[in-house]
Amino acid sequence: MALLETRGLTKLFGGLSAVDRLHLRVEQGDIMGLIGPNGSGKTTALNLITGFLKPTEGSVTYEGQDVTGLEPHELARNGLVRTFQITTLFENLTVRDNILHGSHLANPTTLMGALVRSGRYRRQRAEMEARAQELLGLVGLEQRIDSVARDLSAGEHRYLEIAIALAANPRMVLLDEPATGLNPEEAAYLMDLIRTLSKQGVTILLVEHNMRLITNICTRITVLNFGAKIAEGTPEEIVDDEAVVTAYLGRRRGA
C-alpha cells in the first residue's frame, strides 16, 4: 500500500487546468521527486495534497485513508507536513522559538501547567528545549540558536524550515523547491540533509525544477508538464525519457 496516493487529482483555475488528472504514488521510504518546467503545476499539486487548495476533482489518500479536502493542520496531525517555495519561517522570532513554536504537535504541556508553572510543566519544557537543540544539531544550526530568524543566510533559512517541519514529528515531508536561492555548496548540504531524514524513516516528496539536483537523490521521479504527468520512473529512466527531454530542452536536434 502506498503511503500517499492521488487519483485523478484535478484543479481548474477558471477554465485552465493547473493540475490535470494526476495519479501519484509515493511508497513508504521513498524520496519521490516531483519535477517539471516552471508553471507545470508542481506547487499546485503540493497545495492540493496538503489542503491549502481544494481539488476540483479527484482524491488524495494518505495511510490508506481518504484525506481529500482536509485542512492543513489536520494533515499535519496525521504526520504529513510541508515546507514552502518562498522561505516561510517565524521571521521575527529566534531560532529557538521557531522550533518551540513549531513544536505545537509535540508540545505536551497543559494550560494549567503553564499558568502555575508546575514541576511537570518545567520538565516537559526542558524536554522540548532539548529536542529543539537536537533538531538544530541535525540541520547544523546549533550555533545560531539565539539568532533572530530573519538574520540567517539563505541556506540557514532553508535548514531551519526543515527543522521546523521535523519538530512536528512527521511521517512524510513535502518540500517545495527547497534548493531555490541556494549556492551549490548549500544545495549539496541540503541534499545530504534530505538523505539523512530519509534514513531516519521520513518519506519525502521533493518538488524541484532543477533536474540535476533531483536525479542525484531521488529514488523515484514523477515528471509534470502542463499539469499532467508525462513520465514516471527511476532517475535513470527519467533522464533518458524522450518526453521529459522534450519538455525540458525542447525537441532534440535532428529528431
Binding site: A45, P72, H104, A168
Partner: protein, 340 residues
C-alpha cells in the same frame, strides 16, 4: 544577569512599589484615588485590546462595545436580580467571552486585518445603537444609576482606597496570567499564527479555532474591566459601548506600546493623569491626545514602554543591548498559494 532572565521584572517591581504606595502620598484624597482606580480599569481594558493587537496582530473596533456590555451585564444583574457584584465580576467576563466567541466565530473564519477591523466596527456600532434605543433594558441615553458597590462581609467597598487595592490586585492577576499564557502551548500557537499563518497551519495549528478562542479571551478580559467600571462609578450608559472609549483604549495601547505587558499599564497611567491635568480644556483634550499620539507613532512607533526599556537596557548593559523584541512584529508573509 538575573534581570535579563526575568523580562519585565525590572520594570514591574518599581511600578508595583509606586502603585502600592501612591495613595499614601500623591493621591491622598478620594478624588485622586478615583483616578488611580480609573488607571487600573483602563489598564485591564488596554491589556485586553493589546492581546488582540500585540499577540494576535489583529484589531477590533468593537472592543469598547464588549467593555460596555460587560459593564451592563454586571450592573443589570445587581440592579434587577440583586446578584452580588462579586458574581457580576465573574458573570461579566463569562458573558463577554461568549459574545467574543460568537463574534470571533462569525468574523475570524473569513476575515483578518483591515477586514476584521471593519466587521468589528459594524458589531460595535450595532451594539451601541441597540443600547441607545432599547430603553426598557439599558435605560436609554440616561443609562442606569445606583449600581451597587461590592461588599465584603457586609461591609460595602465604597472607599476609593479599598476599591483601588482590590482592582490593583486583580490587575496584577491579569498581568500574571498574560505573562504565563504567552509561554503556554496556546500562547505559542496564537503567536505563530500572528507571525505566519500558513506556516502555523502546516505544522498543525488549527489557526481559526485558536484565533476565535484568543479573541474570546480578550473579550472576557475587557468585559471584566467593564464590570470593574460599573461597580466603581456606579452607573452605566450606552456611551460606554461607543467609539469614544474605543479611542481611549487605543490611545492607552499605542501610547504604552503594543506587544508588551507593561506597556498598556503605563499607557493607562499616562492617559488618565495627562487627561486630568488637561481637564480644563474639556473636549479639546482629545485634540492634544491626537497630537501626542501622532508624535508617539512617528517617533516612538513601539510606544513609550519599549523606548524606556531600551534606555534601561543601555544602562544595565553598558550599551551592548540586543534587538527590540516588540519591534519584531512584521506582517505574516504568505507562500502557500503560488502556482509552481
Amino acid at each position: 544577569m538575573r534581570l535579563r532572565n526575568r523580562p519585565g521584572l525590572w520594570f514591574g517591581a518599581p511600578v508595583l512599589a509606586v502603585a502600592a504606595t501612591a495613595p499614601l502620598f500623591l493621591f491622598t484624597n478620594a478624588y485622586n484615588r478615583g483616578l488611580l482606580v480609573l488607571i487600573v480599569i483602563y489598564a485591564v481594558a488596554g491589556l485586553s485590546l493589546d492581546y488582540i493587537m500585540g499577540e494576535m496582530g489583529q484589531f477590533s473596533f468593537g472592543h469598547a462595545a464588549v467593555w460596555g456590555f460587560g459593564a451592563y451585564v454586571s450592573a443589570k444583574l445587581a440592579l434587577d436580580l440583586g446578584v452580588s457584584p462579586w458574581i457580576g465580576f465573574l458573570a461579566a467576563p463569562v458573558a463577554a467571552g461568549l459574545v467574543g466567541l460568537l463574534i470571533g466565530y462569525i468574523a475570524l473564519r473569513r476575515t483578518r486585518g483591515l477586514e476584521l477591523a471593519i466587521v468589528t466596527l459594524g458589531f460595535g456600532v450595532l451594539a451601541w445603537t441597540v443600547a441607545l434605543r432599547w430603553r426598557s433594558v439599558t435605560g436609554g441615553p440616561a443609562g442606569l444609576r445606583q449600581v451597587p458597590p461590592p461588599s465584603l462581609f457586609g461591609w460595602e467597598i465604597r472607599s476609593e482606597l479599598a476599591y483601588y487595592y482590590f482592582a490593583l490586585l486583580l490587575l496584577l492577576g491579569v498581568v500574571f496570567i498574560l505573562t504565563r499564557l504567552r509561554e503556554s502551548r496556546f500562547g505559542r500557537a496564537v503567536r505563530s499564527i500572528h507571525e505566519n499563518e500558513d506556516l502555523a497551519r502546516s505544522i498543525g495549528v488549527a489557526a481559526t479555532r485558536a484565533y476565535v478562542f484568543a479573541f474570546a479571551f480578550a473579550c472576557a478580559l475587557v468585559g471584566f474591566s467593564g464590570a470593574l467600571y460599573a461597580h466603581h462609578f456606579r452607573f452605566v450608559n450606552p456611551n460606554l459601548l461607543g467609539l469614544q472609549y474605543m479611542f481611549i483604549f487605543l490611545i492607552v495601547v499605542l501610547l504604552g506600546g503594543t506587544g508588551t505587558v507593561w506597556g498598556p499599564v503605563l499607557g493607562a497611567a499616562i492617559f488618565v493623569l495627562v487627561s486630568e491635568w488637561l481637564r480644563a480644556l474639556q473636549e479639546y483634550r482629545f485634540l492634544i491626545f491626537g497630537f501626542v499620539l501622532l508624535m508617539v507613532v512617528l517617533f516612538m512607533p513601539n510606544g513609550v514602554f519599549p523606548a524606556l526599556r531600551r534606555v534601561a537596557r543601555r544602562v544595565t548593559d553598558g550599551g551592548r543591548s540586543g534587538g527590540d523584541d516588540a519591534a519584531r512584529r512584521a506582517c505574516p508573509g504568505s507562500g502557500g498559494s503560488e502556482a509552481g
